[in-house]
Subunit: 130 residues, 2 copies
DNA sequence: CGGAATCCCAGCCGATACTG
DNA sequence: CAGTATCGGCTGGGATTCCG
């Protein structure tokens, strides 16, 4: 059929009888999944930005979710948070090297999605119709 | 900083003031997000399989979620469902060409996750430590 | 400015039981 | 074999309010 070498990594984990929720691969997938983290990584790919700047760039995000998403990404070492003791204090977020390296694979996925957007929409219509 | 050509596709959508939930890119991301669809695509990358065969390969999935996940993938044209009028009836699922083409980008993401699994785990420990 | 705390609901998802 | 039906818990995430 096709060599699915990469996919077998998940397979191996599954066959070890491990808890799927602790699989490290799932963890990354969950970031991609999370409603906002992809957008945030995208925004930061343009350069470091401050809390409210990111918020303004993503109009529909609440402060609550922005905070939480930033924490999640920081926790996993994908972005770094730096506080400047100005008055009032400002906080800057930027991609780490690891976060930067994620943009490649993530971009590939987004490219695929863009390329297949209309076939998918078509498939949905066809499915709904019959 | 870095060319983020791919990522700008999402950006464009956002700036059009569109509802993010209807962005076609999000549809794909949601599949990746969903707890089981990635595993199912993985399993089917090895070749066509029947309902219960997939279920046995993914021991922790319930029939309910298996059905639902298969429907989701079928709805978007990533897998195809074929019923054989045997006795008792059997149903076979296989990747479509579009589904097959998703394995590449998805595999790249999984490779990245596998490669950075331990740095991420390390970052989490460091973060938890304070 | 950059958050934290609280309330609350929609939906995801698991368990269980039933069907053609 | 390949589903469908129903119930219910858990949590993601929106709205709002308060704080250093």
């Amino acid at each position: 059929m096709r060599d699915a070498v990469a996919l077998d990594r998940l397979e191996v984990w599954k066959q070890k009888g491990q808890d799927l929720s602790k699989c490290p691969v799932r963890h990354v997938l969950d970031h991609v999944a999370a409603k906002w983290t992809t957008l945030i990584l995208m925004e930061l790919s343009k350069g470091p930005a401050r809390f409210n700047a990111i918020g303004r760039a993503l109009p529909d995000i609440s402060k609550r979710m922005l905070t939480q998403s930033l924490r999640d990404l920081e926790r996993d070492g994908l972005i770094a948070r730096e506080v400047f003791p100005t008055k009032p204090p400002s906080v800057e977020y930027r991609l780490t090297e690891m976060g930067l390296s994620l943009l490649g694979p993530l971009g590939a996925l987004i490219d695929w999605a863009e390329l297949h957007a209309s076939p998918i929409a078509e498939a949905r219509r066809a499915y709904a119709a019959g």
